[in-house]
Symmetry: C2
Subunit: 454 residues, 2 copies
C-alpha cells in the first residue's frame, strides 16, 4: 500500500479558483498553425511560464525556431520518483467559426461544461496536473518531483520538440512520463491507455505514359495510369482488410487471452458506432474485436488519391500519371524502417516500372506500457480515488510520436492518463470539457502523485 | 466509270492565290472557348460568309445563342447529287503561347508547312473544299450541288449545332455529308474513315461514411471510400482490358476476315508506337490488332479520380467520399442509352449502397459508312487522283457527334475524308499543315465532286 502524504480532495472555492485560472489560459488564441496568431501563441507561452511560477515551479522558457518550450520544475528530492508531465499550450484553428455557439476564445460555462478551443485538447487536461501540484504544495512537500514540459507546436507536428528533448536530456531526467492527451473510454469510465500505434506515411506516383492521351484515339491500346494504380492498390489489401504485403504481420504480437477478455468487457455497441459514423457496416480483419482492430492490429489505408481530369465537366483523357497517399498504423513490435523496406520490395515486385515511392516523414514507432508498471498502478489507483470506479486498460489507435521518443531518448515509459471524453469535440467547433472531469482530473492527479511517491 | 466535267488540277498561281486566302482566314483568332476572343470569333464568322460569297455561294449567316452558323449554297440542280460539307471556323486556344516558334495567328510558311492555330483543325481542311468549288466554277457548272455548313462552336462541343440542323432540315437536304476533320493514316497514305466510335461519359460518387475519420482512431474498423471505389473500378475491367459489365459486347459486330486482313496491311509499328508514347507495352483485348482495339472495339477508361486528402504533406484521414469520371467508347451497333442502363444495373449489383451515377451529357452514337457507298467510292477515286495512290479504309477511335446526328436528322451518310496528318499538332503548339497536303486536298476535293456527279 501507498503512504498518503495529504488528502486528494478539492473544496468548491479552490475549484472555482482553478476554473478562473484555466479560463485565463483559454482566452489566448494560441493557434500554432496560422501565422496570423503568432503573437498570441508567444503571449500564451509567457503566460504559461508565469502560471507555472505562480504554482511554485522553477521555470525556464526556451525559444526554438518555432514556438517556445516551457519547462517548470517542482521539487528535486533525489529520494523521490520524478514525473515528467508533457502537454501543449497551442490549440487547433477554430474554423469554421460560424458553427461555434459561443466564441472559441471566450470560455463559457453552460450545462456542466466549459466551451472553448483547446479546453479538452490540451489546456484543460494539462491544467489538472498544474492544479494538483498547486493543491499538494499547500499541504506540504510535493510527494514526487515534477517536471512540466509544455510545448507550443503539438498541433503542427512538434517539429522542434525532439531536438529540444535531445538537447535537454540531463534536465529532463525522470522516472516516468505522464501524458494526458487521450480520452477516457466513456463518461464515468476512466481508462489508462497502455499502447499507441505507430505510423508510416508515403506517397505513390505511377507514370505509364510520357503524357496524357486522347481516349478516343488511343483507348484500347495504351495503359491508363488510374487503372494501373487501382490494380496496384487492390493488391495492397484484400476485401477483408488483410494487408497483402509479405511480412506485414510478422512481428505483431498475438492477443493474450486476458487482452481478448478485457476487450469483451469494454463498452462497445456496433450498431450505435455504425450509426454515429454513417457506415453501413464495419470492415476489417475477421475474428478480431473492433477494439482489437483499432488498437492492437496494424492497418493500411489510402488517405488520398488523384489522377487524370478532375475538374468540371468531361475530358476524355487517358491519364499518364496517377498518385495516392498511403498510411500504415503499426503496433508493437513493428519497426517503421523495416516495414517501409517490405513495402518497397513488394511494390517493386507487383509494379516493377514507372512507380516512385516517397516516404514523406520519419515513421513513428508504436509504443507500449506494461500494466504492471508502478506508475501505471499508481495512476490506476489515482483514477479510482477520483472517479470511484476502477479504470479499464485500453489501447489507442492513433499515434503520439513523443511517447516513443521519451522511451528512445530518456528511457522513460509513459503513463497515458486520459481525462477528457471521446465526444468533447476536439479539433471541431464547440470543443468542451466537463466541469466534473476537470474536478476529477485534479483529484486523480493529486492521488496519483501520492500513490506514486513510494 | 465516271464522266469528268473538268480537270482536277491546280496551277501554281492559283495555289498561291488560295494560300493567301487561307492565311487571311487564319489571322482571325477565332477561339470559341475564351470569351476574351468573342469579337474575333464574330469577325471570323463574317469573313467566312464573305469568302463563301466570293467563291460563288448564296450565303446565310444565322445567329445562335453562341456563335453564328454560316451556310453557303452553290448550285441547286435537282438532277445532281448534293454534298453537305461540314466544317468549323473556330479554333482551339493557342496556349501555351511560349511554345510557339512563330505567333499562332500570324500564319508562317516554312519547311513546306503553314504554321498557324487552326490550319489543320479545321480551317485548312475545309478551305480545300472551298477552293475546289471556286476552281471548278471557273471551268463551268459545278458537277454537284454543294452546301457548306460551317459552325463556330466545334471546339466547345457544338452546343447549338444540333438544334440548328433540326430547325433547318429542309434547307440542308443533301445526298451525302462530307467532313474533313480526321487525319490521313500517314504521310502519302490517304485514307477514308468509315467508322467513328460513340461515347458515354459519367461520374461515380461513392460515399461510405457521414464524414472523414481519423485513420488512427478508426483505422481497422470503418470502410474507406477510396478502397471501396478501387474495388469497384477493378470490377469494371479486368487486367486484359476486357470490360466486365454484363452485355457490354452483345451488339459488337465481329470483324470480318476482310477487315482483319486490311488491318494487317496498314502501316503500324508497335515498338515505335510505344516509344513515341512512352509506354512500356500495349494493353488491351488479346487477339485483336491494335487498330481493331482503337477503332472497332469498345473501351472503358477511368479519365479522372479523386478522394481524400490530396494537398501537400500528410493527413491521416479515412475518406468518406471518393469519385471518378469514366468514359466508354462505343462501336456500331451499340446504343449509348442501352449501354448506360447496363452500366447502372451492374453497378447496382456490385455496389448497392452509397453510389451515385451521374451521366454528364447525352451519349454520342457510334457511326459507320459502308465502303461501297457511291460517295465513298467517289472520294476514294478523288484521293487516288490527288495522291497517286489508292486510299486505305480505316476507322477512327474518337467521336464526331455530328456524324451520327446527320444520319438521325437528315438521313445522311458521311464521307470522312481526312486531309491532314496525324502529327500536325492539332490542339498543341506549332499546329501545321503541309503545303503538299493542302494542294492535294484541293485536287482531291475537285476530283471527288467530278466523280460523284453521276
Amino acid at each position: 500500500m501507498s503512504l498518503n502524504h495529504g488528502v486528494a480532495s478539492l473544496s468548491d472555492d479552490r475549484f472555482e479558483y482553478h476554473l478562473d485560472r484555466l479560463e485565463e489560459w483559454l482566452r489566448f488564441p494560441s493557434v500554432s498553425a496560422d501565422s496570423g496568431y503568432r503573437s498570441d501563441v508567444m503571449a500564451c507561452a509567457a503566460y504559461t511560464a508565469r502560471r507555472l511560477e505562480e504554482i511554485g515551479a522553477a521555470v525556464t522558457l526556451t525559444e526554438t525556431p518555432g514556438f517556445p518550450v516551457v519547462i517548470g520544475k517542482v521539487a528535486t528530492d533525489p529520494s523521490k520518483p520524478t514525473v515528467l508531465i508533457y502537454g501543449h499550450y497551442d490549440v487547433q484553428p477554430p474554423d469554421p467559426l460560424g458553427l461555434w455557439e459561443t466564441p472559441p476564445f471566450e470560455p463559457t460555462r453552460r450545462q456542466g461544461q466549459i466551451y472553448a478551443r483547446g479546453v479538452s485538447d490540451d489546456k484543460g487536461q494539462i491544467y489538472c496536473h498544474m492544479a494538483a501540484v498547486e493543491e499538494l504544495l499547500k499541504q506540504g512537500p510535493l510527494p514526487v518531483n515534477v517536471i512540466f514540459l509544455i510545448e507550443g507546436e503539438e498541433e503542427i507536428g512538434s517539429p522542434n520538440l525532439v531536438p529540444f528533448v535531445e538537447a535537454h536530456k540531463t534536465d529532463l531526467q525522470a522516472t516516468v512520463a505522464l501524458v494526458s492527451d487521450t480520452p477516457m473510454i466513456a463518461k464515468d469510465r476512466p481508462s489508462l491507455c497502455t499502447s499507441l500505434r505507430g505510423l508510416i506515411y508515403f506517397e505513390l506516383h505511377l507514370r505509364v505514359l510520357s503524357g496524357d492521351l486522347h481516349s478516343g484515339q488511343h483507348g484500347g491500346t495504351v495503359p491508363n495510369a488510374i487503372h494501373s494504380l487501382v490494380s496496384l492498390i487492390s493488391k495492397l489489401k484484400d476485401d477483408d482488410g488483410i494487408v497483402q504485403i509479405p511480412g506485414f504481420y510478422d512481428e505483431v504480437r498475438p492477443l493474450s487471452a486476458e487482452q481478448i477478455q478485457s476487450l469483451e468487457d469494454l463498452p462497445f455497441n456496433e450498431v450505435e458506432y455504425c450509426k454515429t459514423l454513417g457506415a453501413q457496416k464495419l470492415v476489417g480483419e475477421p475474428g478480431f474485436h473492433p477494439y482489437a482492430r483499432r488498437w492492437y492490429r496494424p492497418t493500411l489505408d489510402v488517405n488520398g488519391i488523384w489522377g487524370g481530369y478532375t475538374g468540371e465537366g468531361s475530358k476524355t483523357v487517358i491519364p499518364a500519371v496517377a498518385s495516392c497517399k498511403v498510411s500504415m498504423r503499426l503496433v508493437a513490435d513493428q519497426n517503421p524502417d523495416v516495414m517501409i523496406d517490405r513495402v518497397k520490395s513488394y511494390l517493386a515486385t507487383i509494379c516493377p516500372v514507372g512507380l516512385s515511392v516517397t516516404v514523406k516523414e520519419p515513421g513513428a514507432m508504436p509504443a507500449r506500457v506494461a500494466t504492471d508498471h508502478p506508475a501505471v498502478r499508481a495512476a490506476a489507483r489515482g483514477l479510482e480515488t477520483a472517479f470511484g470506479v476502477k479504470p479499464v486498460f485500453q489501447g489507442e489507435g492513433g499515434t503520439i510520436p513523443i511517447v516513443a521518443e521519451f522511451k528512445r531518448i530518456l528511457g522513460l515509459d509513459t503513463v497515458l492518463m486520459g481525462l477528457n471524453l471521446p465526444d468533447d469535440g476536439i479539433h471541431a467547433p464547440n470543443e468542451r470539457m466537463s466541469l466534473a472531469n476537470i474536478r476529477s482530473g485534479i483529484v486523480a492527479s493529486m492521488a496519483f502523485m501520492q500513490e506514486y511517491s513510494n
